[in-house]
Structures are given as structure tokens and as C-alpha cells.
Amino acid sequence: MTQLLKSHYDVIVIGAGPGGLAAAIEAKKHGADDVLMIDRDLELGGILLQCIHNGFGVETFKEDLPGPSYAQRFINEAQTVGIDYLLDTIVLDVTPERKVYTTGTRTGFQELSATAIVLSMGCRERTRAQIRIPGPRPSGVFTAGTAQRWVNVEGYMPGSRFVILGSGDIGMIMARRLTFEGAKVERVLEVMPYLSGLSRNYVQCLLDFDITLQLKHTVKRIIGNDRVEAIEAVAVDDKWQFIPGTEEIIPCDTLLLSVGLIPENELSQKAGVALDPVTAGPYVDDGFATNIPGIFAAGNVVHVYDLVDWVTAAGRTAGKRAAMFAQDSCNEDPRYVPTRAGENVRYVVPHQIDPETLTQDSIMLQMRVTRPLEQPVTVQVTDGDTLIAKKSERYARPGEMVSLTLKGKEYDAVRKAKELKVSVVTK
């Protein structure tokens, strides 16, 4: 815990999960003297602390680590390089003038200011209210992440017979985890015709333990008054309409929801940061700068990633740029080229790029496809009839982020482009 809090910082980082930790460390390494992280939890690390399964760090460390180990490495580094942090503290408000108002039971009300801010609040889970499941409201309906926190950190089992709605990674990983702890997972239901998480999790979390996944199925209603007693599952058609006659009552005492994540941007909006309605995160440039000067955003707050390694990479970029902004060494007058989602692409991050970046760094364009393309595809960047960059992938799936990296050799083409249309086309 910080003993002597300053009233002004070069860089304030809001949220100390993987994006925030990487941003804070990188800001410090790039010459920001006073860096502060603020987090509402009692310890640094964010949601990684409850993700006790392995699979983290394959890109960053070339090692396969559990979530808490991945976090611990950054926590240790943050402490070594001398970053201040405020825990058990919630940020109430952020202004476009980069004032930050916080409160906490131990820290009291504080007014702080920063030359640059990195928003790294992450994302939160969609709940029952957002997917409108009818029926009574008994105990026993939880989001998968809440159950994960209880089982892995706090030591509580939320039930004994589970149905999981949604084939996101957290849902599948919890199916395995609950099985490990002696519970029975009756079914995983997915409304889409394809898996929404990583394929490897289908194998090692569901197939390994004979847990049945039903695609194009959802929960029609929840049964039970005080506690969940069963759910009624139903098949859906291509328009998500229930197919009459396919109903099935599945007895269970708990329904877990793994039905998507939404970037958490209430604070961003208070600061005047413009949001992309498709990602629900800020519009950003290649340095993760938002539309408000000096306010950057990194990680799941921008768009929801499937690998923490990319969150770390985004945090590093945002932290470096925040430090540069604090030292007045950013490109003052960037001549942005916008990116645009083309064929089969739902969105592209960043939304605009400064071609000058390519004289020093590469730029990773990150996207999600609109539908599964289970055949060889070309990921390409075009401007009108001009092909600027391309690469091949053997398939593209909505559950797995697709990327294409622009390099220095593309500088001239990008500089001359009116826009960068990013498409994923079948061969």
C-alpha cells in the first residue's frame, strides 16, 4: 500500500489487472517518474487471480502458466520498478482535464490529477437480466465468473448439479473445475451454431469429462421458487426462435451463465471518451489513445480478448504512449488513416492509425469475424483496389481473435491510403 500519496502523477492507471499492470510498468520504463495504479480489489492482479487454470503466457513468456502466476510476475515487477498503488479504492469520476476522484474505506476521498491516464477497467459479465430468461427468480443463478471467484479464491461451492448456459471459455473452464470439486455438470447449452470459446477448451474441459455440449440450444425457463430445481432447455432455429416440441427438463440446482463479456466503460464515458457501439469500448488509435487527449485505454476495456498475452501487449503499448504524452514526446499532429471492417469482419481495433508509427514499430490490427469460416482464408488490408498487406489462415472463427501485423515496409502504402479496409475472404 502506498504510504505517501502524491496529488499529481505523470501517469495514473485505473485497474490493476493484466492490462493495467503492463501499462504501469511500461510507463515507468519509458520515463514516467510517478506512476500510480488504482484498483477496487484488495490486491493487484485483477481477474487473473481467480483464473487458476494454466494456458497463460505462451506468447509473453513462452511458458504455460496458471493465471495467478502470470499476474504474480507482473506484480513483482511493478513493485521492483517502484510503482505506487492504491487498493480497496474505487474511482468515482474521471474528467477530460484528467482529474481522478477516488474513495475507499481505508483511503478516504481523494482528488488526484494526472498528465496522462490509462483506462484498464477490463470487462464484466453479461447477466440474466441482459439475456432475458423468463421464470421465477430463485437462488442458484450465477455468472460463471462469480462462481469461479467463489470456488477458486473464497472456497465456496455454489451448488452440486449444474447447467451452464454459454460455451464461452469461462463457462467451459468452470465445467471442468466444478467436476474436479465433485459436482455434476449436466449440460452446456450454446444458442449459437458454433462454440464461442477456444476449441482447446472444448477438448480439455468438456470432452475429457464427458460433459455434453448442445449447440443451438438455450434455456427456455428456470424452474424453482427458493432455489433452482431444474431448467427447461429448448432447441432454437437460425433466428433464435424456440422450436416447439424440443423442450427438455434438466434437473439441477444451479445455472451458470457464460454468455459474453462487456467492456466496462462507465468511467470512460464520464471522461468524455467516445465509444464504438460494436465493441462497446473506446475508439482508439494504434497507441490506444482515445479521443480525449492524454487518456489512453488498454485491454478488455477496449474490446474483449481471448488471450491475456494480447492484453499485456496492448497495456505495454498504451503505457509507453502515456509516458510519451506525459513527457510531451507524442506525435503532435498525427495524420490518421481510418480502419474499416470489410467482408466477414465485425470490427477492427485500432480504429485509426498514424502511419508514422510504422517508421518505428509494427502495428497489430485485431479483429473478429462475423461467422465461422472453416476453410483457408486470406486476411487482407486494402485501400480501394490497392492491396496493402495480407496473410493466410487455415480458418477463422468468431471465438478466436484474428490479427494482421502491419510492418515498416507497408509505411508508404499506408501513408498514401484513404482508409484501411480489413477483410477476411475465403480462398
Binding site: 487458476i52 494454466n54 505462451v58 495467478p68 502466476s69 472456497g155 477438448v203 481471448d306 487455415r394
Partner: protein, 123 residues
């Protein structure tokens, strides 16, 4: 009998879809892997399937009642529940440091179960 089937490599998050041709447990051909580990995965999956196991053990006097742990190397898949039953009996005192050995040589496999993070003593 020679069979061809699809398998998903679980070695890394890429999750390559592999086309595996085999005769019983004898691997004849693997296609679709983007690195060498894909072939190794299939070979092991046919003869000695293994998995990394992550769970928790009880901690006395820590900031949380549990500390997350994991196997330092993959363990035989059919013996996962045997290992979990052993972990359920373990209770260690705080403080715990990351990579501390929590249980040695589990299942006689020469593999240790280690702590995934530091667990400081509760104030």
C-alpha cells in the same frame, strides 16, 4: 484398420484442428499442425494422454482460505481424480510463495504440485 479422424491440439491456445491417420495406436500421418508440438500431442494422446491439473489447497492464516496450485508437468489423464483426492487432504501454513512445492512426486510420477502465487499472512 486404418482410420482418419479430426483431433484438436490442446498444447497451446491456437487449438489447431489436426487430421490424424492411424492404425490402432500407431500414428501414420498428422496434417494441420502449425508446429512440431502437434505431432507430439497426437502421439501422446494415443498412447499416454496427459493433462496439466490446476486446483486449490487449504491455507492456514493466509489472506485467502485457499491457495491455487498446479502440476509442474502434465499427469496421466486417467489418474486426475486420484490426484485431486490427495490435494483435498492438504493444508499448508501461510505465508506461501509462488513455485513453493505443495506436494512432492505425486502419483509416483516424479512431478511436483506447486503454488501458483504468493499467499501472504492475513494482517
Amino acid at each position: 484398420m486404418i482410420t482418419t479422424e479430426k483431433m484438436i491440439c490442446i498444447t497451446c491456445p491456437m487449438g489447431c484442428t489436426l487430421e490424424v491417420t492411424r492404425e490402432g495406436k500407431t500414428l501414420l500421418n498428422v496434417e494441420g499442425n502449425t508446429c512440431k508440438r502437434g505431432e507430439k500431442y497426437v502421439q501422446e494422446e494415443l498412447t499416454d494422454p496427459r493433462r496439466m491439473v490446476a486446483s486449490t489447497v487449504r491455507v492456514q492464516g493466509g489472506v485467502h482460505p485457499l491457495v491455487p496450485v498446479y502440476t509442474a508437468a502434465p499427469v496421466p489423464k486417467p489418474r486426475i481424480f486420484e490426484l485431486l483426492a490427495q490435494l483435498r487432504k492438504v493444508e499448508i501454513p501461510a505465508p506461501v510463495t509462488m513455485n513453493q512445492v505443495v506436494l512432492e512426486n505425486v502419483l509416483g510420477e516424479g512431478i511436483n504440485v506447486i503454488a501458483s502465487r504468493d499467499m501472504p499472512v492475513a494482517e
